[in-house]
Symmetry: C2
C-alpha cells in the first residue's frame, strides 16, 4: 500500500546518508518510491528480480533465508535508519535473502541506477557503504567460525551473551533481557532448533546463571557467562 502522507517523512535519520548534505538527502527522497508495511509482511522476496536499494525509514526488519526443509535462518535484524538490499543494487545479481517486517514499517526504495550514480558522485557516501559491507563480511566470518567450531549449546550461550552485552551490564553484574527472548528467534540466529534453545536455557536456570521473571530474562552473572563463551571461542 502506498503511503498517503510522505510529506512528514524524510531520509534524515538514515545513518549512511548522514555524510550527505540535507539538500542531497531531500533530492534522494524525491527519487524514492515510498511504501508502508504491516508487521510480518514480506518486503524483499529472495526470488524477486528487483535490484532497488531500500531505506528503512520507520520500523524494524529481519533478513532471513529459508532452507529447503523450511528452516528459517536469521542473517540480521535491522532497525530504523539502516538501509538494505545493497548487494543486488551494487552487483546486479539476484537477492541473497528475504526481508520481513517485524513491526509497522516504512520503506523508501531507490533504483539501483540512482544508487550507483550517488556512489559515483559522493565518495564519502561510497566509503560508508564500503564500511557497511566490510562489517557484513566480518559478522559473517564470525558466524562461520562459530558454526564450524562451537556446538549448538555454546552457540546459544554466545547468542545470550551478545544480547546481554547489548542490554548492558548492571552494577550487580547482571543483565536484563526485556522482553524475554523468543526461543525460535534465538534458534534462527544460531542455526539450531527451538528445542535446543529451551534445553540450554533450562540448564542455565538450573545452574543459577539465568532467572526467568514475569516479563524479563535475567542473566544473573554476566562475567561467568563471558567466561563460558571465551573458554570455547578463545577470545
Amino acid at each position: 500500500m502506498t503511503v498517503d502522507d510522505t510529506s512528514s517523512l524524510s531520509l534524515d535519520r538514515i545513518e549512511p546518508l548522514a555524510v550527505l548534505s540535507p539538500e542531497v538527502r531531500a533530492d534522494i527522497a524525491r527519487l524514492c518510491s515510498w511504501k508502508r508495511f504491516g508487521p510480518h509482511e514480506q518486503i524483499i522476496d529472495r526470488q524477486s528480480d528487483t535490484r532497488d536499494l531500500l531505506f528503512l525509514v520507520r520500523g524494524s526488519v529481519r533478513v532471513v533465508i529459508y532452507s529447503v526443509s523450511g528452516r528459517e535462518l536469521t542473517l540480521d535484524d535491522l532497525k530504523e535508519g539502516a538501509f538494505l538490499g545493497e548487494l543486488s543494487a551494487i552487483d546486479g545479481h539476484p537477492r541473497s535473502a528475504s526481508v520481513m517486517s517485524l513491526t509497522e514499517t516504512v520503506i523508501a526504495s531507490l533504483s539501483a541506477e540512482h544508487f550507483r550514480r550517488l556512489l559515483a558522485q559522493h565518495s564519502d557516501f561510497a566509503m560508508m557503504v564500503m564500511k557497511r559491507l566490510a562489517s557484513m563480511v566480518r559478522a559473517s566470518t564470525d558466524r562461520i567460525i562459530d558454526l564450524s567450531t562451537l556446538g549448538a549449546n555454546n552457540r546459544v550461550h554466545a547468542e545470550l551473551l551478545r544480547q546481554a552485552r547489548l542490554a548492558g551490564e548492571r552494577d550487580d553484574g547482571s543483565a536484563i533481557l526485556k522482553p524475554i527472548p523468543v526461543h525460535g528467534d534465538m534458534a534462527s540466529r544460531v542455526s539450531t532448533t527451538r528445542e535446543t534453545v529451551a534445553r540450554v536455557l533450562n540448564d542455565l536456570a538450573r545452574q543459577g546463571l539465568v532467572r526467568r521473571e514475569r516479563d524479563a530474562l535475567v542473566i544473573v552473572d554476566l562475567a561467568r557467562l563471558e567466561e563460558m563463551v571465551e573458554e570455547v571461542r578463545g577470545e
Copy 2:
C-alpha cells in the same frame, strides 16, 4: 625478504585495477612496498596491526582462521591478480583472518591511506571494490547456509561439485580434478575433519561416482553429483 628486481613487476594484472589507466597503475606501483615470500609463509598474521592493502602480483595464497583447538578454517584461496586485506584498509579494524602463501609469491603493499585516496578519486575503482565485497558477503552467506542446513557428508559432496564445475564437464559427463584434492584442504573448506572427507570419498568410490587415478580424481558422473547436492540444497 625484499624483491631485488621489481623493475619487471607491475600491477597490470591486478584485476580490480584494470579500470584505472596504465599511468595510474604505475603511480600506485611506485607507492607500494614489494615483498617476495616462499611457499607456506605467513603473509598476514591475524594478530598483526597492519592495515595495508595487498596486491597478489605472483603466486597464490590461502585466507585462513585457526580455531582455539587449532583447527584450520579456509575462508578463500586467492590467485595472482587478486587483492587482499581490504577489510582492515577500509574500516581500520584488526585483520579478520590470516593469509598464508601456497606457492612462491610476490606481494605489493599499499598503505590504507593511499588506498582510501584512490577510492575517493576513482569511483569506478570504488565500484569494483564494492562488487568484490558484495561477492564476499554472498559467498559467506552460502557457507552459513551450508553449515546450518547440511550435514558434513553433504558439504563434502558440495565442495567436490564446486571443484568439478571449476574443472569443467567433459563430453562423457565426467570431470577430472588434477592434482587429486588434498583431504585436509577440503576438510578446511567445509569445516569438517580429514577423516570425514576420506570416508565420504571412499563411499562415493564404492558407489562408482568417483574414481581415483594415479594423479587425478575422476568425478565419473557430474550430473548425478549435482542431483545429490541439489536434493539437499534445493537449488
